[in-house]
């Protein structure tokens, strides 16, 4: 087996790789050119459509696709998979929909104590 090279060498290689990384995906017109959401939404963050007759109205096709995709709570990643929109665009549009009261963004796991969260996850895994 090949031995792992020293971290110093690896670090230089990683820096080089980062320096050469391709540019971020260009802003999408569907988001009005914006690429950053005000609140960071991790790919695992759950979103639910607000079940109210007016909430699905007056939305752009992309917003409506997102609204429809999270009728039952779905993660940002699942909404991306369901709509075919890139995660960056989903984040921005979910941020807009949340501000407008059309969808609810569920609490981030970081709002819970880390130890309590890990214990709950471990308990859950032990029951499977």
């Amino acid at each position: 087996m090949l031995r792992r090279p020293s971290p110093e060498h690896a670090s230089a290689a990683a820096q080089l790789a980062r320096a050469r990384r391709p540019g971020r995906v260009r802003p999408f017109t569907v988001t009005g050119g914006r690429t950053g959401a005000q609140l960071h939404l991790g790919a695992e963050r759950l979103v639910s459509a607000v079940d109210d007759a007016h909430c699905g109205r007056g939305l752009s096709p992309e917003e409506y696709a997102i609204y429809s995709a999270c009728a039952a709570s779905q993660s940002i990643a699942e909404i991306g998979a369901a709509t075919g929109l890139p995660l960056g665009a989903v984040r921005v549009l979910v941020g807009d929909l949340a501000k407008a009261g059309r969808v609810v963004v569920h609490p981030a796991a970081s709002e819970v104590s880390k130890v309590a969260l890990l214990e709950r996850v471990l308990d859950g895994l032990n029951r499977l």
């Binding site: 090279p5 971290p7 991790g42 695992e44 969260l117 471990l122």
Partner: protein, 199 residues
């Protein structure tokens, strides 16, 4: 009830608040990340998985890995419901070096990471191990995937070859087997819990 920022929609009575968290599955190209995720996921693995073209086969030295016909070129993921209101997502990190820029975003907020390794091409796991070692803020372990159910090298030899810190757990699993993968998930969560309690 957890409070949320005032500029967000207020949950209606119909919405039950849920918490979700994630683990990242990293490792080299073709090491079995998607297999591992699908072994435990409640849902079919989702994401962008493109069939490799002949051109990229050459670039990625696909010939070194027998019977591999496609790989993850974006990221794929699965989900486990652990209890009502608590979901665990498993995200497979893109294996090729040219997708490294996606990692920081994916790893942000992760409660832990699994670096999956193939002893036939151990060097494919070096970048992922280096990445988590250098970050230092995401507890991780290395899991050797027993391809065809066999462990080709003893784990102590693997640990030596990886120059792995004694504090980093090293496990082996058959990434196709749900029970094996669940055991690895428990080890990484216990490791994260210990790290958190000792911090």
């Amino acid at each position: 009830m957890v409070s949320i920022a005032s500029d967000q929609a207020v949950p209606t009575s119909a919405t039950t608040l849920e918490i979700s968290t994630k683990l990242v599955i990293a490792g080299g190209f073709g090491v079995g990340k998607t297999t591992l995720v699908s072994a435990v996921s409640d849902i079919p693995v989702l994401g962008t998985e493109a069939q490799m073209t002949e051109a990229s086969v050459g670039i990625d030295e696909l010939g070194l890995i027998p019977e591999k016909t496609s790989t993850t070129v974006a990221m794929d993921f699965g989900r486990l419901a652990l209890e009502p209101g608590l979901l665990l997502y498993l995200f497979g990190a893109p294996g090729q070096d040219r997708f490294w820029f996606m990692w920081d975003d994916l790893v942000r907020g992760a409660i832990g990471a699994i670096v999956l390794a193939d002893t036939r091409r151990l060097e494919a796991s070096f970048p992922a191990i280096n990445y988590f070692e250098q970050r230092g803020d995401v507890p991780f372990l290395v899991a050797v995937n027993r391809f065809d159910g066999r462990l080709t090298h003893p784990l102590d030899q693997v640990r030596e070859a990886l120059d792995l810190d004694p504090a980093i757990p090293l496990a082996d699993c058959d990434a196709r087997e749900r029970a094996d993968v669940l055991a690895v998930l428990r080890v990484v969560i216990r490791h994260a819990l210990n790290a958190e309690l000792n911090s």
